[in-house]
């Protein structure tokens, strides 16, 4: 390898354009004759649309058209679908309500699009959208999922009686109940996971154009998976057949899940671009982003844990109610089921698990995958339970966890997953050492002397990444395969283009993927270009989410590189009259082992393209492609430990120390991996301390701007101490597990475990804002005084 190969902290190739203002995001795209779209949105959470009057708007300057849902349906645009079929425990399929890109009959959440205006300028479009008169008849509203199943609750969708989407179960109920019958100790808790808004800093955007002569559409859009977008737009929304639709996701400013889905606005812009005969651009403002980007989490659970006389866990029973919002978003059904309940075993040996998950409709923004997607919810349940159980039985939380760790691999859990490799003791030890766990008591005493409360809390998380294999996820209801593709094109002068179906929106693929080529061929990363995000360039791909681009995306590149290497070696052997098995590749040269004969990679590439002297029967060129379908999920795991200090006078919680010790398997670029962890940790700490999507009883989103939704800022969080332990993943050629979500998965329970430790209370609901912490302290003070 070179100094740029696997494990090197190579600085990012993509940075130069971003730090100089030369990035190319969707909203930077301008096309000739482009018009601007503005959406008319429902101000009500639930209402019948009686009429839409457009005359005044149409008469305004610069306005091309005001389009509504009737026209959309008449043009044959299909309903928005959920791509993962879940069956209830009685075998019935999930109850999916009808969702149209523009709704003309019944609106079901504040911000739902009813009509779209296209005009010459954005201001004209916005002014005209204000002038569209929609007559609504307000209907009763459900906001809280716990109200949705109540008798007499308003009915949201005719397809979903009682607002129930599905009632699903996993695990053995009878065996789990038996474990509880013979338990020495039972621990039970109500555990909520607060609703969050993903908030990538770049708002969603779409620029759609239609070429009437070719009957061909082009869509620039903020997507984590442009090929999936094209597939869905084509196969389900009937916008155009795939070969007549090009989707380009240029630089994308963060996604965190929220840019996986195909939203009404992209569909409407494509459709409108044909209708009005000009390119159409729409860019979300932040308020629209709060109202319409898919939200995350929003679970209410009750959990019970059974322990035997040796404090070993014998059973876990969980009931979860998940709020999916007003409509089923693309992967919404998989999040509280296969991405959640399958991880309820945590890092522990739990022989019996049973979980029941009910999902319901409410008059709120649709909920789907947000960084971690189901796994943060599972980790929060299990790690809050572990902490509470340890306190209840009077054991040190670390010892209690250690006693119950899975230590032998492979380990089959009772909830589908088969953990392939890990060393949970190692990450726990590394984290405890890094935070000086033993020294906590004296730090606490010091804080007390300063009039502050100090607490420590840990979380030993496990997650599943690189969701796969396709056949298995297909049998569980997935509508797509979850493989990845890659193509490696060696140019005649020996530079390389790697085309990947993965998509980078901050993850640094241009650098990490190039390092793989540096490792394999000893070529400098500067000689490599990574091509992604354009359905005309890359044949197909599943995109980037679920921390899959290393474990799945890079594995596909490895497979293609194997083929390139094989052909290059055959050419080299032929040219140097050696046997193929004697050819070695090193520092950009192909050598005959044990001799001084060698040819440069460039010479081989050129020979492949001139084709003057190739082995008998060999095709010219040096270009190979591969599809890679993983054999299993990967299982990143680790320990996060958080130390907080609370000012009892203000209720402000300060994270004074935070350690993350993670096992991500093989790491290509530690610098980039650390960055992923930092970002994930702050999103998790944000959930625990600051962030909350709150609705009032009428279904108005109260936290719909940065004034009301508390995004973590630089002085809300500390610098982090990161440790790495490594067990290689046996399931893929590089041994990678994935690192993109771990920070957001492991950190929330660590923070809350630290806060409950500091406050001396059993539970504290997220987010632990100063006013709520202060109130809790007052109540506790009053209670203690009364006792």
């Amino acid at each position: 390898m070179t100094s740029e190969g696997i494990g090197a902290r190579v600085l990012r190739k993509e940075d130069k354009r971003f730090i100089t203002g030369n990035g190319n995001y969707t909203d930077d795209v301008k096309l000739p004759r482009m018009g601007y779209a503005a959406f008319v949105r429902s101000p009500h959470a639930h209402a019948k649309v009686r009429s839409i009057k457009t005359d005044a708007a149409l008469a305004m300057p610069g306005v091309d058209a005001v389009l509504n849902g009737h026209q959309l349906v008449a043009d044959g645009i299909g309903n928005i679908i959920c791509g993962w079929m879940i069956h209830s425990k009685d075998g019935s399929p999930m109850n999916m309500g009808q969702w149209r890109a523009l709704e003309s009959e019944t609106v079901r959440f504040v911000g739902q699009a009813v009509a779209v205006v296209v005009a010459d300028t954005l201001q004209q479009a916005m002014d005209a959208a204000e002038a569209v008169e929609v007559d609504y008849e307000e209907l009763p509203v459900i906001v809280d999922s716990r109200d949705a199943l109540k008798e007499g609750a308003p009915q949201l969708h005719p397809e979903a009686p009682g607002n129930l989407i599905f009632d699903w179960e996993i695990g053995e109920e009878a065996a789990t109940n038996a474990a509880f019958d013979s338990a020495k100790t039972i621990v039970s808790m109500d555990i909520d996971n607060n609703r969050l808004v993903p908030n990538p800093m770049e708002p969603r955007s779409a620029v759609a154009s239609f070429d009437a002569a070719e009957e061909h559409y082009t869509l620039y859009t903020t997507s984590q998976n442009p090929h999936v977008a094209r597939l869905v737009l084509s196969a389900f929304y009937n916008v155009a057949p795939e070969h007549k639709l090009r989707v380009i996701a240029p630089d994308v400013g963060g996604g965190f899940g929220s840019k996986i889905y195909i939203y009404p606005e992209e569909i409407a812009c494509l459709w409108a671009s044909k209708r009005v005969g000009r390119p159409v651009k729409w860019t979300s403002d932040r308020t629209e982003a709060f109202l319409t980007d898919a939200h995350g989490r929003d679970h209410h659970s009750t959990a019970e844990m059974a322990l035997d006389e040796n404090n070993r866990i014998t059973g876990l029973r969980v009931n979860t109610l998940a709020n999916l919002g007003a409509y089923m978003s693309l992967f919404s059904s998989s999040v509280p089921t296969y991405l959640y309940a399958t991880l309820l075993s945590g890092q522990y040996n739990i022989p019996n698990i049973y979980a029941n998950v009910k999902t319901v409709y409410t008059n709120t923004t649709p909920v789907d995958a947000y960084r971690g997607a189901g796994r943060p919810e599972a980790t929060y349940v299990i790690e809050r339970m572990m902490e509470t159980a340890a306190r209840q039985i009077g054991m040190d939380p670390a010892d209690f966890r250690r006693l119950n760790f899975v230590t032998e691999f492979p380990h089959q859990t009772p909830v589908i997953m088969c953990y392939d490799a890990g060393d949970y003791d190692a990450s726990l030890n590394a984290a405890m050492k890094a935070i000086d766990y033993a020294g906590f008591a004296s730090r606490r005493a010091q804080s007390e002397a300063n009039g502050k409360l100090r607490g420590i809390g840990m979380s030993c998380y496990i997650e599943a990444c690189g969701i796969a294999p396709s056949q298995a996820v297909g049998s569980l209801g997935a509508g797509v395969g979850l493989w990845e593709s890659a193509e490696v094109r060696v140019n005649p002068v020996g530079t390389i283009e790697v085309l990947t179906g993965s998509h980078s929106h901050g993850q640094g693929h241009e650098t990490t993927f190039s390092q793989l080529i540096a490792e394999r061929f000893g070529l400098p990363t500067d000689n490599v270009a990574i091509v992604h995000g354009d359905t005309d360039k890359v044949q197909f791909g599943m995109g980037t989410y679920g921390s899959r681009s290393g474990a799945v995306g890079m594995s596909a590149i490895v497979k293609a590189l194997d083929k390139v290497e094989d052909k290059a070696k055959r050419i080299a052997a032929h040219l140097m009259e050696a046997s193929e098995g004697d050819i070695e590749i090193e520092n950009g040269e192909l050598k005959v082992a044990g001799t001084d004969k060698k040819l440069s990679f460039t010479e081989i590439a050129l020979a492949a393209y001139t084709a003057h002297n190739l082995p008998e029967g060999m095709e010219p060129g040096l270009k190979e492609s591969a599809f890679y379908d993983p054999t299993n999920f990967t299982f990143p795991a680790g320990t996060h430990i958080c130390e907080v200090e609370i000012d009892p006078d203000t209720g402000k919680v300060e994270v004074v120390n935070f350690v993350a010790a993670d096992d991500f398997g093989t790491i290509i670029n530690p610098m980039i991996v650390e960055g992923q962890v930092h970002g994930g940790l702050v999103q998790g700490i944000g959930q625990a301390l600051l962030e909350n999507a709150a609705y009032d009883e009428d279904g108005q989103l109260l936290s719909a701007s940065y004034m009301d939704y508390t995004m973590p800022r630089a002085d809300d969080v500390p610098s982090f101490k990161l440790e790495t332990t490594v067990t290689e993943c046996p399931g893929n050629p590089l041994g990678m597990k994935g690192c993109g979500e771990a920070g957001a998965i492991g950190s929330p329970p660590a923070v809350i475990n630290a806060i409950t430790d500091a406050l001396g209370v059993e539970d504290f609901a997220m987010p632990a804002s100063p006013s709520r912490v202060w109130q809790a302290l007052q109540q506790k003070g009053m209670k203690e005084a009364a006792e």
């Binding site: 990035g23 995001y25 301008k30 201001q123 800093m201 610098m671 980039i672 004034m707 995004m711 610098s719």
Partner: protein, 162 residues
């Protein structure tokens, strides 16, 4: 509609704008300088930060007309890919960016911070001063490191000049 003229990155530019046109819109749409980003509508995120007459300004909170006659510096005027400003360089060297969307605003904010408060900034000061800039990707850890490094390097530059 009115005519505005200003200096942007050292060049005199003018354009016709509505009274309500924001400076951020003028920069992005009229001048096609798309390095200045818009991340919110409540002047909270700082993605749109530029310098006007040497002071950091959120360009979404200023009308284009208010900048008439002024001197504006955007991210494009700070350094070039071939010749990076020390703050730009420090962001790259410390992995102070991921998706890059907040980055221009962060860099403009950091330059302003170092200009105002002098070199050798400590972590607390940097974190406090970043109050007006939101990043969703980096968790701020490496942004803080980058600004610290840049502020130290700029101290060296100043010392060497003395």
């Amino acid at each position: 509609m009115g005519q505005v003229t200003m200096t942007v990155n050292g060049k005199t530019v003018s354009g016709t704008v509505e009274d309500r046109t924001l400076l951020s819109t003028f920069i992005r749409e009229n001048l096609a300088l798309t390095g200045t980003h818009v991340g919110c509508d409540t002047s909270q995120c700082g993605a749109c930060l530029v310098h006007v007459d040497g002071k950091a300004v959120k360009s979404c909170t200023m009308l284009a007309a208010q900048a008439n006659g002024g001197a504006v510096t955007t991210i494009e005027g700070v350094g070039t890919p071939a010749e990076l400003h020390p703050v730009q360089k420090a962001f790259k060297e410390n992995h102070g960016l991921q998706c890059g969307f907040c980055t221009p605003g962060m860099i403009m904010s950091a330059i302003d911070m170092i200009n105002r408060l002098g070199p050798n900034l400590d972590e607390d000061t940097i974190r406090h001063e970043l109050e007006g800039n939101i990043c969703r990707c980096t968790g701020y850890h490496n942004i803080v490191k980058a600004i610290k490094q840049a502020s130290e390097e700029m101290a060296d530059v100043l010392e060497a000049a003395e």
